[in-house]
Symmetry: C2
Subunit: 692 residues, 2 copies
């Protein structure tokens, strides 16, 4: 649609968004540059700039039609982008970090996603040298494009329940891959629907009528030249989803398809073709830690995921409320309303809390891997969702990390999901427009709350670990890690009671969180061991316990990060970070008030004071720094793709441009009358539409 | 895509969904038929069946491609449906209730939506007899198809801030409609983007340089034969949204467009063309109650909106958890997990709570209108969003209803929004598929939390009213309605303290909610009147106060509804409804624990018992009735359009059918290799796509 000149001449009414954001930035002395470097490192920032420059100059990555395009167009465009990205990797010699940064900037799941993660990783880690030669080399050259086919229509998290079978045929030394039921259909498999020509298929290995549990098989599924499914294989895309629609999640069924002996990935276990016997994996502990790593990265990313929404909402809420009563005296920026502050500023604090916690987790993971490899020999890279995971190591550090990663994955992804919706709604009516940039981001992120362990299911693992730790402490064992230390401390002090000065002392805040977590642990233990309650009857308590313990971890990590800040961080910025710590901790404390007072960690009076005075004061103190704080997250406009979150504040101009000039719906003219003989006068192509 | 025969022959692994749901239904004696009639009335149920039969046999209403279609197709189909529905109304002589039921069954916002509500209503209520003749007649015949253009790009809820002007021209007795800035552009206007040829435009009336505030003008905006925008008018669709994409929300700008004197709707105020003077509205109280009515309907609908999600999730969660450890002994239906029960069953209780509350509100509204019309003469019908609303009536009943409708609209729509997401997630991975039917329903419902009063803004009105009531009670005035009665009761008893037996006595639960609401009211009053805190500093307290008071209203209405149940309701069913009441009330109580104990309405011990014992026991008691309870909401499968929520439990078959046979993405074959010369081998039409 052409925008007439008289419309192009119009300006938004004063004050302009650009002026408002300029004012905001002039009111705070936060050093955005230093804080950005603290969050992302100088090297990370430089990498982002370098990659961004290449992407934004390539028209295949042009985002203008992203919000308008339908499913098929979005998928086709995403595939074109994936191909181009692969070409850029080769042309510019990008390393893995460069590619990850590019994906973050593009900000949509791509059809090569599972090829480049699970398919390659599984071939690498679970393939024998012969299989590396046969499969991995082709996959690394993108001749074989693969996916990781585990989940089935009837089965999600537990691989032991999978129905797909791989039966060893003694007579010709092959496997028959089969889907005996409809629920055995592979389902949700990323990159499978339209893209992959190979799959790693998790199937129950059956030898001589005996099942040996799920094992990975490399299976060709499409013809290498026509790309049509092979005979007796039924494949397709599973259809549209709430988000993630640039990805072709697929289904896959086998009608007794024979594959050769080499198809079964044989690094850990295999079938001996001479004896027709199953050879067990030599060291089950090798697969330890894979999901722990994945969960740690989810915690790490959750801060940044949420920060996108907070950036958009904070910048937009720095706008004036043009609907405010005129007696507001010019001071009517939306961000000045306490009902807006109470929603956005604790979330702003949360972005930092999660980021620092994720960083600490990754560091801990690195340390534990080092220790592990000393303990049990070389450990493979992370295997996303690859096989059952149990705690085999004797190391308390590792068990602690495993439990922590479960609880924090649940808390962090839940917090990011909920927070993004809060940000979207804080933008008022315009938050509902796709141009806000929050809705699609939220929708694409949502599955994180389900995959790599459902957020509810995971909390049982945390509780199980805490109960075990509590039993150990009750037996009088010496504390061997932080968890047993806080449990022992609680036991030692519980008769004296707690008197934490949460309003006056930051270390006491951390102690109060530890106290509450320990209290809930011993309560749960009492229900379980003394009152002999059924496990299922305690799931709700366990969920709360996991949440409490994870919040303790976040508060503790945030606190500790600020104890040793980088030397170039100025006192003003560090001071604001301290306030963000207190806001996160006290706001969470008062939101979860009843657990805190029930445990006697704090008094009812302290909670009331936290609510009515401490938190409100912190909101007021942090308010002037809000825009600079989100600036320090350093999201380029190109990445955010948001009218409301633009760095320059040209919100209305951008919304209008997209609606008036980019919107393809405005290219059709309809016949609106109910009794018209044809339904539509013309569509995009100028053709008449048939009556439905 | 063709599904091969060997796939068609596959069945889901046992047990079949149909068997599981049959078992569920056999385990409860709830009388679904009687309970449905209690919820919807026999007449309402018969109406639904009659309308459904017609719709589901008409191919324009076929829903098969709804989840797959892109924006343009969805809009065009929705328009075709709107036209057809209009034809059906005429052919079958449907009344307004029939049409509303049809819209509920179709379940998508349609392009005639604003024509059939705000446009017609505004013409009718605000037009003079001459204008009825000139505009309304044409509109009722769908010759004029209209919209209601109030909101602007820079202005939402407050009409006083609108920038569009209508300047009276003395010389030729016309008005000039103008958009002086970009932010003056009308925005979000339903049915405007592509459909309407007329608009009611709210614009600042200016006579002789003096502004008289916003007034409604009827303006032709598109040519009656070409349907192109008229000269100096720029119109378009505002682009895609998080939901509501079957509706063409539009923008509209005027470049000094002249309209005749008759354009200004003149029933209440007008410009006298002889004297060029503004003639004030004779009775401002006429517009009272319009938004109150709209808000009451939102409360009324919220129960049913949520019930769709609860129906889908409850039926699907009656399935077995195929991932459960095998030692679960067959008792592994997802709905047996307490972590699932604690999410779904309180929401199931909430659907009834909101429904009964909405019914009570509508009855109260009817009574108040009757009283009003006795007080001030004839009152017009509801005017959706039409103009400012103030409390002009001296009747305490009416003021109470106004405040209640604000608070309940906020609580009910928030609860439905949040609850739908909980239901979607309770469905696990498959909840993310569009075929769950929850995602799109949630996305379409979301704006309800913003329109007709932002859910946060509204709570100020509740607080203002409660403070006023408290001041009146403190002065010693006799209680004149329920609100002043509970405030007076609190004052009289506060020194004795409360001792509500919330665990043993249902009336005491209601009293505890009243107590907490009164306590928070006097706390807020102290902050405001004694401590002289600024209004803005109290917004968070006000939000909490409004929420508390609204929860009291819901609990009270649910309780009272069950005190006089319909005579044909059997004791078993009534007994379960009582349990649902207790579940809603006690679960909410323990979720909001800190306000209850701070107010001394209950003790810490009572809250602990509510949490760990009463609520858990209620979950257990209600569990066997869950499926029959959702059945009683009586959603036809055609309406739900959900694989997971099917009445017959054929979940896997339906998901597979949609993915394998209906999914258009499966009609394209791509070239997946990164260095291929062409990007795609063929698309739907068999054509090569150009390189992006």
């Amino acid at each position: 649609m052409t925008t007439p000149q008289w419309v192009k001449d119009l300006k938004p009414a004063a004050p302009q968004g650009s002026e408002l954001l300029e004012q905001e930035r002039s009111k705070s002395k936060i050093n955005v540059d230093t804080l950005s470097a603290f969050l992302h490192s100088r090297e990370g920032l430089a990498r982002k700039r370098r990659v961004l420059k290449i992407l934004e100059n390539d028209k295949v990555f042009n985002k203008e039609q992203n919000y308008f395009a339908g499913r098929i167009d979005r998928f086709e465009t995403a595939l074109a982008r994936a191909k181009k990205l692969r070409q850029l990797v080769i042309r510019h010699g990008w390393d893995n970090d460069d590619r990850m940064v590019a994906n973050e900037l593009i900000s949509e799941p791509g059809p090569y996603g599972l090829h480049e993660s699970m398919f390659l990783i599984t071939l690498r880690d679970q393939g024998s040298p012969e299989q590396h030669e046969r499969f991995l080399k082709q996959a690394e050259k993108y001749k074989y494009i693969g996916c990781y086919a585990q989940t089935e229509l009837g089965h999600g998290s537990n691989v032991r329940g999978l129905e797909t079978t791989a039966t060893w045929n003694t007579e010709d030394q092959t496997f028959t891959i089969d889907s005996p039921t409809l629920t055995a259909s592979k389902w949700w498999i990323g990159s499978l629907g339209r893209t992959a020509n190979h799959a790693v298929v998790m199937a129950q290995l059956i030898i001589n009528g005996k099942s040996h549990g799920p094992h990975p098989f490399v299976v060709q599924i499409r013809d290498m030249s026509t790309h049509e499914p092979l005979k007796d294989i039924h494949i397709g895309d599973i259809g549209p989803k709430f988000g993630y629609n640039t990805m072709d999640n697929g289904f896959l069924l086998f009608n007794k398809v024979k594959v050769p002996h080499i198809s079964m990935l044989a690094r850990h276990s295999r079938v001996d073709p001479k004896t027709n016997k199953y050879v067990k994996p030599s060291s089950p502990s090798l697969v330890f830690g894979t999901l722990t790593w994945v969960r740690s990265t989810i915690v790490m990313q959750a801060g940044g995921v949420l920060a996108r929404g907070v950036t958009i909402a904070t910048r937009y809420c720095a706008f004036q409320d043009r609907d405010a009563p005129s007696d507001a005296g010019g001071e009517n920026q939306v961000l000045n309303y306490t009902t807006v502050q109470i929603r956005l500023l604790p979330l702003l604090a949360t972005t930092f809390a999660l980021h620092f916690t994720g960083k600490a987790m990754m560091a801990l993971y690195g340390a534990s891997q080092k220790k592990m490899s000393q303990d049990v020999g070389k450990v493979g890279g992370p295997e996303r969702g690859a096989g059952p995971e149990e705690t085999h190591s004797g190391s308390d550090l590792l068990a602690d990390l495993h439990a922590t990663s479960c609880g924090l994955k649940s808390l962090a992804s839940y917090t990011a999901v909920e927070g993004l919706e809060v940000c979207r709604r804080a933008c008022g009516g315009h938050g509902y427009s796709s141009f806000s940039g929050i809705g699609s981001w939220y929708a694409d992120y949502l599955p994180t709350a389900t995959w790599e362990g459902d957020n509810y299911m995971l909390t049982q693992q945390v509780a199980r670990y805490l109960l075990k730790s509590a039993r150990s402490v009750l037996k009088g064992n010496e504390p061997s890690n932080d968890t047993t230390a806080i449990l022992a401390n609680f036991l030692a002090r519980q008769d004296q009671g707690a008197a934490f000065d949460v309003l006056g002392n930051d270390a006491d805040i951390v102690a109060a969180y530890a106290w509450r977590s320990a209290f809930l642990t011993f309560e749960a233990l009492k229900h379980r061991d003394e009152q002999k309650k059924a496990w299922n009857d305690l799931l709700v308590d366990f969920y709360r316990l996991s949440r409490a313990h994870s919040q303790y971890m976040v508060v503790k990590n945030f606190y500790e990060t600020l104890q040793s800040p980088p030397s170039d961080l100025d006192p003003e910025t560090l001071g604001v970070l301290h306030k963000l710590f207190r806001l996160y901790a006290l706001h969470t404390l008062e939101s979860e008030a009843s657990e805190f007072y029930t445990s006697s960690a704090v008094t009812v009076r302290q909670i009331q004071l936290a609510r009515t005075s401490a938190v409100m004061k912190l909101l007021q103190d942090i308010r002037p720094h809000a825009v600079r704080l989100v600036d320090s997250w350093d999201f380029p406009d190109w990445q955010l793709d948001s009218s409301l979150g633009r760095y320059d504040g040209k919100v209305y101009e951008d919304m209008f441009h997209r609606a008036s000039e980019l919107n393809p719906l405005n290219r059709i003219t309809v016949d609106p009358y109910p009794d018209s003989p044809t339904l539509f006068k013309k569509n995009e192509a100028g053709a008449l539409k048939p009556k439905l």
